[in-house]
C-alpha cells in the first residue's frame, strides 16, 4: 500500500479541523494557542506534501516561513498571556470581554 498525496492531505485536513475545533471550544488561552499551532502545522504538512509531490522547492520555503511566523506569534502571544495571568490569575478568554460593543 503506497502512501499517496491524498493521505497527507486527509491527515492535514483532520489535524486542521481538530485545531479549529479546539480554538472554538476551549476557554483556556494556553490550550487555544496549542490548537492554533496544530492548525499551522497541518498547513505546513500540506505545503511539504505538495512540494514533494510536484518536485518543487517553494512549498518547503513556505513551510519555513510559517514556522518563523508561528515562533514569533507564540512568543508574543505567550508574553501577553503571562501579563494577563499576572493581573487576573486566570487564563479564561471569556473573562476578557472589555471590548464588548
Amino acid at each position: 500500500m503506497t502512501v499517496t498525496i491524498g493521505w497527507y492531505m486527509s491527515l492535514a485536513a483532520v489535524l486542521f479541523a481538530i485545531g479549529a475545533a479546539g480554538v472554538l471550544t476551549r476557554r483556556n488561552a494556553l490550550v487555544m494557542f496549542m490548537s492554533v499551532e496544530l492548525m499551522l502545522n497541518s498547513v505546513n504538512l500540506t505545503f511539504i506534501a505538495a512540494a514533494k509531490e510536484l518536485g518543487l522547492v517553494e512549498g518547503q520555503v513556505a513551510a519555513l516561513f510559517v514556522m518563523v511566523v508561528a515562533a514569533a506569534e507564540v512568543t508574543i502571544g505567550l508574553a501577553i498571556l503571562v501579563a494577563v495571568f499576572r493581573r487576573r490569575a486566570s487564563a479564561n478568554v471569556d473573562e476578557l470581554s472589555e471590548l464588548k460593543g
Binding site: 471569556d94 470581554s97 471590548l99 460593543g101
Partner: protein, 623 residues
C-alpha cells in the same frame, strides 16, 4: 526695445509688491517718489515706442510667455496706435497724479500702502489696454476693479468709505458678468480668444443675431466699468476715496475702460447695428441724465463725479456712432481736463481742511492763484470754449451724430442740451468756489498747495488747453495716428466744412448761454436758496439708490435671509444631520456583533472561510 514692452506692466506691479510688503521701512516720502518713478519709466518707454507710429510703423504683437495656448490666450501684448495712446494717457496722467499725491497724501498713516495700491492700479490698467486677447484683457479688467475697490475704501475706518468700496465692487461685478458671458460666447463661436483671429474672421463666422448678443453683453460690461445707465450708481459714491484716486481712476483712466473696449472690439459691434444704436442711445441719455444731476450738487467732488458720468456718456455715444476716433479723442482730452479738475478740487479741499461743500467756500481765487488759474482753464475746456481741448473733441462727436442722420439727429440734440447744462454747472462750480464772498469757517486758513501739487496742475492745464489742436477739422492728426488701429472699421465722420462750422457755432452759442445763465444766477451777490423740489431730488440722486435698494437690494437680502435662516437650517443642516442619524442607527444595530469574546470572533472567521470555500467550489462547478 519692443521686446521689453512687458516692463510697462511689470515695473508698476513690482512697485506695488515692494510698497505693500516693505512700505513701512521705505516710509514717507521715499515711497511716493519710488512709486512715481516706476510710473515715469514706463511713460518714457511708451513715448519712445509710440513715436514710430507717427511715421506709419507696423502694429507689434509681443509674445511674453505661454499661458493658456489652447484658448488662444497667451501672455501676449498688442502694441498698436490705440493701445499706445491709452498707455501714454495711463502712464502720463497717472504719473502726474502720483507726483501730486506725494504732497496730497502727506501725513497719512498708510502713505506707502496708498502708493502701492496706486502702482497696482497702473499695472492693472496697462494689462487691460495692452492685452492681445480677451482673456488677458479680462484679467486687467478684474484687477482694475480690485484696485479701485482698495482705493475707494482706502480710508475704510470711515463707514461710508467702506460701503462705497463695496458698492463699486458689487455694481462692477454685474458688468463683469456681462463681459464674461460675452467672452464665453466669443469662444464658443470662434474657438479662440485671440484678438487678431476673432476680428479677422468676425464677418464670416457671426450671424447678425450672434453678433448682437455678444456685443450687447460686452456693452453690459462697459456700462459697469464706464458708469453708464443703469449701472452708474457706484461712481458718485466712489468720491469717498482720496481725491487723487478720484482723478486717476474715476475720471481719467479706469472708467474709460468701457470706451476703450468698445473701440477695440468695433469689428464685432460693426456687425450689429442694433447694438450700436443701443450703445449710442444709452450714452446720450447718460450724458443728459448725469448732467442734470451735476447741477444740483453741493459737494464739489460730487459735481465732478456726475460730470464724469456725463462726459463718459459722450464717449460711449461716440463709439456707438462708430465715430471711434472722436470717442478716443474725447477720452484723451477728458483725461487731461477732468484729472485737472479733480486735482484742483483736491487742492481746494486740501486748503480748506477737508471741506467739500461749495456753499462753505467762495472768494478763494486770491488765496490760491495757481489752483484758480489752472481750474479756470479746465472749466473752459470742459465747457467747450474755443479753442480749448473740450471744444474740438465734443464737437467732433456731435458732428458725427449729426452726420449719421435719422434717429441720431435726436442724439445730437441731446448732446447739445447736455453741453448747455455742462457749461451751466461748471460755471456754477467755479463761481461758488473762487468768486463771491467768503462763506467759510473763520478758523480755516486757505493757502496755496505745495509745488508737488501745483506743478502737475500746471502740466495738466497746458495739455487741457492745447491737446485739442492735435485733431482739428483743419488737420486731423489723431485720426491719422489711429488709422492703423481702425483700418478694418468703417467710421462715421463729421460732414463737410460748412456743416461743421455751423454745428460748432450752434454749440458755442449754447455754451455761452449756459455760462451767462450761471453767471446771472450765481455771479451777482446774493446766492439763491437752493432747497426743496428739484434741488432736494438732485442731492438725493433722484432717489435712484432708494429705488435700487427697494427693487434689487431688498429682495436680494430677503432671499439671502430665507436661504440662511430657512433653507440652510432646515434643508442643508437637515441633510447633514440626517446622514449622522442614519450612520448612528446603523452603528447601534451592528454593535451587538462586537461581543468581546475571542471565541465568537474565531467562529466568525471560520464560518466566513467556510462560506468563501463553499462559494469557490460552487462557482468552480464542483457540485
Amino acid at each position: 526695445m519692443i521686446d521689453y514692452l512687458w516692463l510697462l506692466i511689470a515695473l508698476p506691479l513690482l512697485g506695488a509688491l515692494t510698497l505693500i510688503v516693505l512700505g513701512k521701512r521705505i516710509g514717507e516720502p521715499a515711497s511716493g517718489w519710488l512709486a512715481s518713478t516706476l510710473v515715469a519709466i514706463p511713460f518714457i518707454m511708451a513715448v519712445i515706442l509710440a513715436v514710430p507710429f507717427a511715421g506709419g510703423a507696423e502694429t507689434e504683437h509681443v509674445y511674453v510667455f505661454s499661458w493658456i495656448p489652447v484658448i488662444g490666450a497667451n501672455a501676449s501684448l498688442l502694441w498698436d496706435p490705440l493701445s499706445a495712446l491709452m498707455a501714454l494717457i495711463v502712464t502720463g496722467v497717472g504719473g502726474l497724479i502720483h507726483i501730486y499725491s506725494i504732497g496730497y497724501m502727506h501725513g497719512d498713516d498708510r502713505y506707502p500702502r496708498f502708493f502701492g495700491y496706486m502702482n497696482l492700479f497702473i499695472g492693472s490698467m496697462l494689462t487691460l489696454v495692452l492685452a492681445d486677447n480677451f482673456a488677458l484683457m479680462f484679467v486687467g479688467w478684474e484687477l482694475v476693479g480690485l484696485s479701485s475697490y482698495l482705493l475707494i475704501s482706502f480710508w475704510f475706518s470711515k463707514p461710508s468709505a467702506a460701503a462705497a468700496g463695496k458698492k463699486a465692487f458689487i455694481v462692477n461685478r454685474i458688468g463683469d458678468w456681462g463681459f464674461l458671458v460675452a467672452l464665453m460666447m466669443i469662444f464658443a463661436a470662434f474657438g479662440t480668444l485671440d484678438f487678431a483671429i476673432v476680428f479677422a474672421r468676425a464677418g464670416g463666422v457671426l450671424s447678425v443675431g450672434m453678433a448682437t448678443a455678444i456685443t450687447l453683453m460686452l456693452f453690459v460690461g462697459a456700462t459697469g466699468k464706464s458708469a453708464q445707465l443703469p449701472l452708474y450708481v457706484w461712481l458718485p459714491d466712489a468720491m469717498e476715496g482720496p481725491t487723487p484716486v478720484s482723478a486717476l481712476i474715476h475720471a481719467a483712466t479706469m472708467v474709460t475702460a468701457g470706451v476703450y473696449m468698445i473701440a477695440r472690439t468695433a469689428a464685432l459691434f460693426e456687425l450689429a447695428p442694433v447694438s450700436l444704436a443701443v450703445v449710442a442711445t444709452v450714452g446720450a441719455l447718460t450724458a443728459l441724465f448725469a448732467a442734470t444731476l451735476a447741477v444740483g450738487q453741493r459737494d464739489i467732488k460730487k459735481v465732478l463725479a456726475y460730470s464724469t458720468i456725463s462726459q463718459l456718456g459722450y464717449m460711449i455715444m461716440a463709439v456707438g456712432l462708430t465715430a471711434l476716433t472722436a470717442g478716443i479723442f474725447h477720452l484723451m482730452t477728458h483725461a487731461f481736463f477732468k484729472a485737472l479738475l479733480f486735482l484742483a478740487a483736491g487742492s481746494v479741499i486740501h486748503a480748506m481742511s477737508s471741506e467739500q461743500d461749495m456753499w462753505k467756500m467762495g472768494g478763494l481765487r486770491k488765496y490760491m492763484p495757481t489752483t484758480f488759474v489752472t481750474m479756470v482753464i479746465a472749466w473752459l475746456a470742459i465747457s467747450g470754449v474755443f479753442p480749448l481741448s473740450g471744444f474740438w473733441s465734443k464737437d467732433e462727436i456731435l458732428g458725427a451724430a449729426f452726420a449719421k442722420g435719422g434717429w441720431f439727429i435726436g442724439l445730437w440734440a441731446i448732446g447739445v442740451i447736455t453741453a448747455l447744462i455742462t457749461a451751466f454747472y461748471m460755471t456754477r462750480l467755479i463761481i461758488l468756489t473762487f468768486f463771491g464772498e467768503k462763506r467759510w469757517d473763520p478758523d480755516a486758513h486757505p493757502h496755496e498747495s505745495p509745488s508737488t501739487m501745483t506743478i502737475p496742475l500746471m502740466v495738466l492745464a497746458f495739455f487741457a488747453a492745447v491737446i485739442g489742436l492735435w485733431n482739428t477739422p483743419v488737420r486731423l492728426g489723431l485720426e491719422h495716428f489711429l488709422e492703423p488701429a481702425f483700418e478694418n472699421v468703417t467710421q462715421v465722420h463729421a460732414l463737410g466744412n460748412l456743416t461743421v462750422t455751423a454745428l460748432a457755432l450752434i454749440s458755442l452759442a449754447v455754451v455761452t448761454v449756459g455760462i451767462l445763465l450761471a453767471y446771472h444766477r450765481y455771479g451777482r451777490g446774493e446766492l439763491p436758496a437752493e432747497d426743496g423740489g428739484y434741488w432736494a431730488a438732485a442731492l438725493d440722486g433722484y432717489g435712484v439708490d432708494d429705488l435700487y435698494g427697494k427693487v434689487i437690494v431688498a429682495p436680494g437680502k430677503a432671499a439671502a435671509t430665507w436661504l440662511a435662516m430657512i433653507f440652510d437650517v432646515r434643508v442643508v443642516d437637515g441633510i447633514v444631520n440626517g446622514l449622522a442619524v442614519v450612520t448612528k442607527a446603523f452603528g447601534s444595530s451592528l454593535r451587538v456583533l462586537q461581543t468581546g469574546w475571542v471565541r465568537s470572533y474565531g467562529a466568525g472567521i471560520v464560518a466566513g472561510s467556510l462560506g468563501v470555500i463553499l462559494w469557490l467550489l460552487l462557482r468552480g462547478g464542483a457540485f
